[in-house]
Amino acid sequence: MSQWFMITLVGKDQTGIVAKITTALFDNNCNLGEASMLRLGGNFTVMLMVSYDGKVQNLTTFLQPISDSLQLQLHIDAIDGQLHHHQQPNLRIRVHGADRTGIVAQVTTALAEVGFNILDLESDVGGTDNKPFYVVDIEGIATNGIEPVETAMQGLLGNEIEIKLEPIETVMM
C-alpha cells in the first residue's frame, strides 16, 4: 500500500535538478503530490510530497546517488499527509521596512497571539548591502476575525515598518 513521504532537497542551483529527480521518481513508480520548489539565495530548494509503495530506505537507495551527483542534501520523512486538504486564506499581511533583526519574529508572534494561522509566508531582502530592506508577504486564516489582527499589527507600527492588511476573497463559481 502506498504511503506519503516528504522529500527535501537543498543545494547549489543548477539546471536539470527537477528533471533528474522527478524522472528517477517516475522510473520507480512514485506519484507526485503537492510541491514547493524555488531558488533561495543561490540554492535550489525542493519540498515534495511523493506517494510510494515502499519504505524510506528504498526511496533513499535510488534517490541518494542522484542527489549526490547533483551535490544536494537529501532528507526523506514518512508523513501522515493527504491530498485535497487545502485550506483557504482569508487575510494577507504585507510588511516592509528597513531590515533589522526581529521583524519576522515580532510580526508572527503578534499574529500567533491573536490566533492567526499562517498558510504561506514569503520574504525577501532588497536594497543594497548598506541599506537593506525587508519584505514579508503572509497569507493565512484569521480564525478570530480580522479586527484582532488589525489591533495587534497597529501595536507594531512606527518602528520603521509598514504593515498592510488585505482581506482575501475567493469567488466560487
Binding site: H84, H86, E122, D137, E169, T170, V171, M172, M173
Partner: protein, 168 residues
C-alpha cells in the same frame, strides 16, 4: 426541476465554444430552471454557465447577492452576454464547480460594462464592479471554452506593472 450533471475538468468538452441563443421559448425557461437547481445544489457557488452542464449555449446565471456589503444586480439570468468595456485590473482568487479542490489567482477587470439579454430576449446594459464583475468574467470565459486554469497567475506577479498595460 432537475439538478444537472456537471462536466468536470479535464473533460475536453469544457473547451467547446458555445453558440448564441436564438429561440426565447419555454425550452429555454425550463433549462434555466434546471441550471438554477444545479447551482442551488452547490452551496457557496455564485455562478454557472450552460456549457458546464454540457449545453453549449450562451447562457449564464450569476447571483452574488449573498455577499455582504458589495454592489450587485441581484439574481441575473444572462443570455448572449457580451462585455463591451473593461476598466482597471485586479488579482483575485477563484474556484469553479467544474474544477474541484483547486483555487487559483486570476487577473480580471475591476469594472465592466455588460450587454446581455434576459430570458425573454430583451437587451439590458449593466455596469458591474468587483466581485460581481469577476463572477461574470469567469462565466463568460466558459462560453468561450476557457477555464480559470488558462489564466492563472502566481501571487508573485506584480499587479502594479499589469495595471498600466492591458487597459483599453
Amino acid at each position: 426541476m432537475a439538478v444537472l450533471d456537471l462536466l468536470i475538468y479535464p473533460d475536453s468538452r469544457l473547451k467547446t465554444i458555445s453558440s448564441p441563443v436564438e429561440s426565447f421559448d419555454k425550452k429555454l425557461l425550463d433549462f434555466i430552471t434546471d441550471l438554477e437547481d444545479t447551482i442551488a445544489a452547490a452551496p457557496g457557488s455564485v455562478g454557472i454557465a450552460a456549457p458546464q452542464v454540457g449545453e453549449f449555449k450562451r447562457i449564464v446565471i450569476v447571483d452574488v447577492s449573498t455577499k455582504a456589503n458589495i454592489k450587485h444586480h441581484g439574481h441575473l439570468r444572462l443570455i448572449n452576454p457580451e462585455i463591451v468595456h473593461w476598466k482597471g485590473f485586479a488579482v483575485g482568487r477563484e474556484g469553479c464547480m467544474s474544477v474541484p479542490d483547486y483555487i487559483g489567482n486570476v487577473v480580471r477587470a475591476k469594472n465592466i460594462k455588460l450587454l446581455a439579454m434576459d430570458e425573454y430576449g430583451i437587451q439590458h446594459e449593466y455596469e458591474m464592479t468587483g466581485y460581481e464583475a469577476r463572477a461574470v468574467q469567469h462565466e463568460i470565459d466558459h462560453l468561450e471554452g476557457m477555464l480559470f486554469l488558462d489564466r492563472l497567475v502566481s501571487r508573485r506577479h506584480d499587479l502594479l506593472q499589469r495595471e498600466n498595460r492591458h487597459l483599453s
